[in-house]
Amino acid sequence: MLPEKQNLNQTMLDTNQLASFKQGINDLSPLQLAWASGYLAAKAESVTSVELPATTSSVAAATLTILYGSQTGNAKGAAKSLAAKASAEGLNVELKSMGELKPKAIKNLTHLLIVASTNGEGEAPDDAIALHEFLSSKKAPKLDHLHYSVLALGDTSYEFFCQTGKDFDQYLENLGAKRMAARVDCDVDYDAEAGAWSVNVIAQAKKLLDVDSPSSNVMPLATVSSVEEKYTKQAPYTAELLLSQKITGRDSAKDVRHVEIDLGDSGITYQAGDALGVWFENSSNLVNELITALGLNSQEMVSVVGESIELATALQAKYEITQTSINFVEFWAKLVGSEKLLALLDDKTALREYAANHQVVDVVKSEPLPNEVKLSAQTFIEVLRKITPRLYSIASAQSEVEEEVHLTVGLVQYQAGDEVRQGGASGFLANGSQEGSEVKVFIEHNDNFRLPADNETPVIMIGPGTGVAPFRAFMQEREATDASGDNWLFFGDQTFTQDFLYQVEWQNYLKSGLLNKIDLAFSRDQAEKIYVQDRLKENASEVFSWLERGAHIYVCGDMSRMAKDVESALLEIISEQGQLSQEQATTYLKDLRNAKRYQKDVY
């Protein structure tokens, strides 16, 4: 028991006292109440042994609470920038991760802005799961007094676009809360829409909270200012690409790169578990191919956010052409009158699949523009998404590599007709850019993926494929800090000889004793497919005993299949080994998650 807690218990009013106190203040006007609060405060100061509960201050009326539910850091980043703006406008802002708010405490809030991202198939991000569940449950309180608005982040290429944001919006409405502004659903290039929503909700909040102008005595929030970075998504650092080394064997079906980037004297710091945001440029060959297919002139000037630049430059640096939005497919279908594409518009699943498997140039080339249809360069770029940086889990610890940052990048590559198509960022990092060339980067902190504070705590790391990246960082960090806690890695990929990423490093960690156990699952080395979740189940009793002695468990990699299968394997293990019902096992895992002992970095 914490001392503060005991103090609180001793000084709280008992039921009778509380009832008579409420009775006494029930009929007071706001002015009378203000006076009463001053009176009580003075009274409290004179009685030194009495400490007021810390929570009373948060009940203060004029607070705008900003809650974010964030998996990869985008929602958190948007929430932070919103908080800074609101604070600058004189609002009293409290910024929190949903995970930091006790779900029940939501009834204490009066003005709330939510920024929420959505996981793969419409699931809430880890830090939002508890609140999300609570608000849709029978336990959820009436929230008539709450004013709110939701900014939902998502990706139109997924079926359940912005689902988590939509859910929060719906739940709050169901509980009687009042929208101060309509929800905005953003696609991956969310900056402009998020910005417009921010301006709108801040204006609404100022009206509701009766804040007129910035007041000089409002201090910038500590939580906002302390994480403010010199280099950000909007103002990235121009780093040097040192190395892009293929680390899969020559007969591998995959091309995975170990990328080393020099952060120079930027002063950028990061922790094991963080991600690196990488701005990339599209390949000039691809841009030329696209412009030729469109019959446009690469030197034609187009206007991009008020700036006039050449079409080729715009397509190379400003717009997304390696990922196709369903909006683009729709636009193109109608423009060229393609029956094949028009038919897709009625089948969302097929449409999404088509968009996911065709780069913009392939859509254009497979359904060419008829001669009689005119398309201006400006019209074309405006239907494209703005280019957005890609986030990669960092594969190094600064304690080991100092001013460098390492990534493990799976090169997205496939054949489209006669052409080889590559992913925008992975292609840029793998071979679109020469070693020694520049790359614009920023750190995306991820407090949802952190080594245990206690160095003696054991960790279980589950990271097949490029999901192994942060665990390389973890091991470097554990080594540098002489952490005595046990380490257990589960890794898997297609084949042992070709795809055992960082094999020699794991062998050395095993030899030195830093890595206590490694379990490997190579799916294509035998007739039956074996995956990491199978290895987990094979080691059920030991996995459970590690959990029972306080191990943290980390999962990184593919979200839609692997992370799900791993989670059901964990539930199975917990239920079997702990002799718990399914429900109890779910609670066990939820408790682990709430205690930050079960953390995921999945994509």
Partner: protein, 580 residues
């Protein structure tokens, strides 16, 4: 022979004192060749074997290797070398049945990285590129077809060679039976092989054996040991490359006993003059019934007297040069309880295989196929391996792998000749345009799999032979040939130290050129030039062949010519002459 007698009267110590080589420790600690191989098989973090097991698996017929072509590439990829094993089967006399052949064909196609079968100078086949998870399956598959790989490598008596002579098939059959008997007699008796690879099952066709090693002893031999059975006038097995040789002596076509030759061996170490290739000494004749006793006596003498301090001087040839031929021979006689009688006369006339059709005394036909480098692989224009499998499906006799890395389809009835030839021709196994020079050329495996290789051999030879053919043609001796052998390192698998021109790998694209071996394989060639590159080699051969073509005596072989005219001096006694 008087000068030789003097050389044979060495009187060094019978036992070399000093700190034993580390291999002695690992054999002693191996619990009769078991080590911790079983644990290593379960370790799926590495494709290799660790510590002592890396050496111990050799006694089970395997070498750990890796694809050296991509070793550096994989280092950059943060991947360990592409570890795999090479397996060398135990096939005394190189006889394999069509059923066995189809089984190894299937395994090599499905479970090896290279998809090939390699016929080797040890008259057996090798699998190259078997990954750890497939090793047990490999042994179990072989066992199912009556094949094992016990003691085909390591400090033991290795696969016993036997002249592949299907023409005088009755004598050959007897000699072959002896090769099998000697192999079995000198085999390790430990059950380690069966336990580790066959899950403790009894080896098919083997005998129930106990734990002790009455012949090899708990520490096994100081170094590798090679044995042959040879039927003159063929010397296809190259007796002087072997520690122990039984030269078949027949009386009216019936085998009556053997001349015993001891102490041959070709391995040496670059820059170490205490090492040299050496011919075997003739100990004399023994009657048939004493064969196994003499074999065991030679092995146990070498076991007890061989140098266990310095592995580079541990082979039988050095033991004999240290204690003297007479001392060694007397010890063998004492241990075997016999006296060698005077050697029976015999003559070696050649070492090559008779490529093409021959007819045996029993009316059966034999087709010897020339397999370049012994490599059976489906090449784009010559699906050799498929061809062999197709023949195996219809052939009623057996196959004989030769010490020259060729293969003989033996025991074909007259009525089946045409069918077999048709298949062979359709798959590129019979080509009429293969020159005598090509048939008399040989190379070891070397790159990319052999970890010892310093230079290319198998991949270098075909082109080299083409160039040499052109040189012979240029000097109007296109029908002649020179015994030409390339070996990637000085350890001798390619038997370059019994060639007329022997090239020994020194470094990438660098070879030492030796001259002066003879066609019968009874003379060791001496180093002529050091560190030659491919261009230098062709230039040297060109000028040497030019002289040979114009100055030679009638019918004089190249190796004899270079000694007669003083281009190189003859190696009579290796210890004295080889480095002189």
């Amino acid at each position: 022979m008087t000068d030789l007698t003097k050389e044979n009267q060495a009187n060094g110590p019978l036992i070399v004192e000093g700190k034993h080589a580390d291999n002695e420790r690992l054999k002693a600690e191996s619990n009769y060749l078991r080590g911790t191989i079983v644990e290593d098989l379960k370790d799926n973090v590495t494709g290799g074997f660790t510590a002592d097991n890396f050496q111990l698996i050799r006694t089970h017929g395997m070498y750990q290797q890796d694809d050296r072509d991509i070793r550096n590439e994989r280092t950059k990829q943060k991947l360990e070398p592409l570890h795999n094993v090479m397996l060398r089967a135990r096939m005394p006399g190189g006889i394999i049945t069509p059923t066995q052949w189809l089984a190894i064909d299937k395994f090599s196609r499905e479970k090896t990285s290279y998809g090939s079968i390699r016929i080797t100078t040890r008259q057996t086949f090798q699998f190259h590129g078997v990954l750890k998870p497939n090793i047990k399956l490999m042994h179990q598959t072989l066992n199912e077809y009556g094949i094992d790989s016990i003691a085909t490598a390591g400090d033991v008596n290795r696969n016993v060679l036997c002249t592949t002579n299907p023409v005088e098939s009755e004598l050959h059959q007897e000699a072959y039976e002896w090769a099998k008997k000697i192999s079995e007699h000198l085999l390790p008796k430990t059950r380690a092989y069966a336990e580790i690879w066959l899950d403790g099952e009894k080896i098919e066709g083997g005998t129930e054996t106990g734990e002790v090693e009455p012949i090899l002893g708990p520490n096994y031999l100081p170094r590798k040991f090679k044995t042959t059975v040879v039927i003159p006038p063929q010397n296809d097995v190259d007796v002087h490359a072997n520690d122990l040789n039984f030269i078949a002596i027949a009386d009216n076509g019936k085998l009556i006993g053997f001349n015993v030759l001891v102490g041959g061996g070709l391995a040496m170490t670059h820059g170490d003059k205490s090492t040299y290739p050496r011919k075997a000494d003739d100990f004399g004749f023994v009657a048939l019934e004493n064969t196994l006793g003499v074999a065991a006596a030679v092995v146990t003498t070498q076991r007890d007297w061989g140098n266990r301090v310095n592995r580079k001087n541990a082979k039988t040839k050095y033991t004999i040069d240290r204690v003297g031929v007479d001392t060694f021979k007397a010890e063998v006689e004492q241990r075997a309880g016999i006296k060698f009688s005077e050697s029976r006369p015999y003559e070696f006339t050649g070492r090559g295989d008779r490529i093409g059709w021959t007819e045996g005394f029993d009316g059966k036909h034999h087709l010897a196929l020339f397999i370049e480098n012994g490599r059976l692989l489906d090449n784009p224009n010559a699906p050799l391996k498929t061809g062999m499998a197709e023949i195996a499906k219809v052939h009623k006799g057996d196959f004989r792998m030769t010490a020259n890395q060729n293969i003989i389809i033996a025991g074909i009835a007259s009525e089946d000749k045409a069918d077999i030839e048709k298949i062979a021709r359709a798959h590129g196994l019979m080509a009429d345009n293969v020159s005598v020079q090509r048939k008399n050329s040989m190379a070891c495996v070397a790159f990319p799999t052999c970890p010892l290789a310093m230079a290319e051999a198998e991949r270098y030879l075909p082109g080299l032979v083409t160039d040499v053919e052109a040189i012979l043609a240029k000097h109007d001796v296109a029908d002649e040939s020179i015994i030409l052998r390339v070996t990637g390192c000085p350890n001798g698998c390619g038997r370059a130290m019994l060639a007329e021109i022997g090239l020994v790998g020194k470094g990438p694209s660098k070879y030492n050129m030796h001259l002066g071996g003879n066609t019968a394989g009874t003379r060791v060639p001496k180093m002529y030039k050091e560190n030659l590159n491919e261009a230098d080699i062709l230039q040297e051969i060109d000028s040497l062949v030019a002289r040979w073509a114009s100055e030679r005596n009638n019918g004089e072989a190249f190796g004899d010519f270079v000694i007669r005219v003083g281009i190189i001096s003859e190696v009579k006694v290796s210890k004295r002459d080889f480095h002189d």
